[in-house]
């Protein structure tokens, strides 16, 4: 069984609009999956089902063998979530306090919390800024802090919602490098984006969402020709007939 199993998942919002339409998708443990689609295609809605922030109207989501709807808290421990708006997810008044928020909620004792916070901040390269106020960080650093915040809770997978929005070139590279490192250390990654170009070179698989349905799934390079049909920009290099390289190169 896959780490994440999405079976015939549909979500209808309170106002009757359809958010997700019978999605079937499996994500293997350790896989790096990019979910692409235009605005309103259901990417964020899909992601929020992975840790029970939204619950299915129909179908089910199973994380590591257990239904998310039956036990959302377990799903939240298995899959950490990095939200699109990095500013709005900062809870603490210093970088270290913010990273400690999750482990504190899990009831660890102070020493364990300090250890987790230290190793999470080291993993994202923010150990030097532990006592700094989060709102003084750069865009890329804020996103890395958000990553540290979920890493400190020890998840197996991390879901990123539009991780590159509002980031400058340096910020995109920082976040991308972080993702690659997380993938290398064995984490399962699910990344939504409409900017396929920025991650394509590192992803194992690309899934295309269109109007709430998963229309295509496969190796990124194979799906490039179909992107524009679904309102997603093709990588520049592909248009020019070259190989799509890494943004980290």
């Amino acid at each position: 069984m896959s780490f994440i199993e999405i079976r015939s998942l549909s979500h209808r919002f309170a106002d009757g609009t359809i958010g997700l339409d019978r999605i079937d998708l499996g994500v293997e443990s350790g896989e790096f999956v990019v979910v692409a689609g235009e605005n309103g295609s259901g990417k964020t809605t899909l992601l929020r089902h992975l840790n029970g922030l939204l619950l299915p109207t129909d179908g089910e989501v199973i994380v590591d063998g257990r239904s998310v709807a039956a036990d959302p808290v377990r799903a939240r421990l298995k899959i950490g979530m990095v939200f699109q708006d990095a500013d709005s997810q900062i809870v603490g008044q210093t970088v270290a306090e913010d990273a400690a928020f999750g482990p504190e909620n899990l009831g660890f004792d102070r020493q364990q919390i300090d250890r987790r916070v230290r190793s999470a901040l080291e993993a994202v390269g923010l150990a030097h800024a532990a006592d700094q106020a989060p709102h003084l960080l750069s865009g890329g650093e804020k996103r890395r802090l958000a990553i540290a915040g979920v890493l400190a809770m020890g998840p197996e997978g991390i879901a990123f919602d539009e991780p590159f929005s509002n980031l400058d070139y340096a910020g995109v590279r920082q976040v991308l490098a972080q993702m690659v490192a997380l993938h290398r250390s064995g984490h399962t990654l699910v990344v939504t984006t409409h900017e396929v170009e920025k991650v394509a070179a590192h992803a194992d698989r690309l899934v295309i969402l269109h109007r709430g349905a998963a229309v295509l799934s496969g190796p990124p390079a194979v799906l490039f020709p179909d992107l524009e049909r679904y309102g997603i920009r093709q990588p520049c290099a592909f248009k020019l007939g070259k190989e799509v390289g890494s943004w980290l190169a």
Binding site: F83, D87, S88, Q89, V91, F101, L106, R110, M153
Partner: protein
């Protein structure tokens, strides 16, 4: 830098447990309202000394409490001309009396002590320490969920710079569209507040969701505070002060 912002340091005040400092501020509030002149004088000297050691000299507290001093001046002036007894100086129809001056001076001294003690807490205690102390002090109070109160306090401090930034952005956006042309004050308030609040509440929703995603819980690990010998001695001294002021 204002005296109300935390300034890092290792002074006597910095070293005290935040609970002790909050207790001290409360005791000095009582002293300020109830004590006699000698006790007030001793308290005043103690506070000024502790503030000075913590890096907050008279310059800072004169400047940072500007508005407060101005209000005290007003209070003093009003008291000076409303006292009873023979007038020392006559200003128009108002007579400045000796008793008025004494009353005014006393009230100002009392209020200054309370205010300066407040600065002592803000300047030498991190906001997170203050939250921790509040949580600890509220624990025995029934019907008050102290962990939630501490979380909300932390969020207030977190939100404040963000709110001020949004206010500035909203004002700029409206100036760019010539809001000054609108003369109706109600319309202006409405047009200012609705977009501002709408944006801020959307962000609050996102924060709530992010807290949920990180398993915000009631049995979360609290902060660690440790009081030492100095704290015990301070509390004893504070107890003495309370007795002296109530006598």
């Amino acid at each position: 830098m204002s005296a109300f912002e935390y300034r890092p340091g290792g002074s006597f005040l910095h070293g005290l447990d935040p609970r002790t400092k909050l207790a001290a501020a409360a005791v000095f509030a009582l002293v300020g309202l109830a004590a006699s002149l000698p006790v007030l004088a001793v308290s005043g000297i103690l506070i000024v000394w502790a503030l000075w050691r913590a890096g907050v000299g008279p310059r800072q507290w004169v400047r940072d409490l500007r508005i407060f001093w101005m209000m005290l001046l007003f209070l003093f002036a009003v008291r000076a001309v409303t006292g009873s007894g023979p007038a020392l100086v006559q200003v128009g129809s108002l007579g400045v009396t000796a008793q008025g001056l004494a009353d005014g001076g006393m009230i100002c001294l009392r209020l200054s002590i309370v205010a300066l003690a407040g600065i002592g807490v803000s300047a030498a205690t991190r906001p997170s320490e203050i939250e921790a102390a509040v949580q600890a002090l509220l624990r025995p109070v029934p019907f008050v969920p102290e962990k939630r109160v501490a979380t909300i306090l932390g969020l207030v401090v977190r939100f404040l710079p963000e709110v001020l930034r949004e206010v500035r952005l909203t004002k700029e956006a409206q100036m760019a569209r010539c809001i000054e042309q609108r003369k109706n004050p109600i319309a202006r308030l409405y047009l200012f507040a609705v977009p501002l609040l709408r944006r801020i509440f959307v962000r609050a929703d996102r924060l709530a969701m992010a807290m949920e995603a990180r398993c915000y819980s009631d049995n979360r690990t609290g902060p660690v505070l440790s009081a030492g010998l100095t704290d015990t001695l301070c509390l004893l001294a504070l107890g003495l002060l309370v007795m002296l002021s109530l006598l």
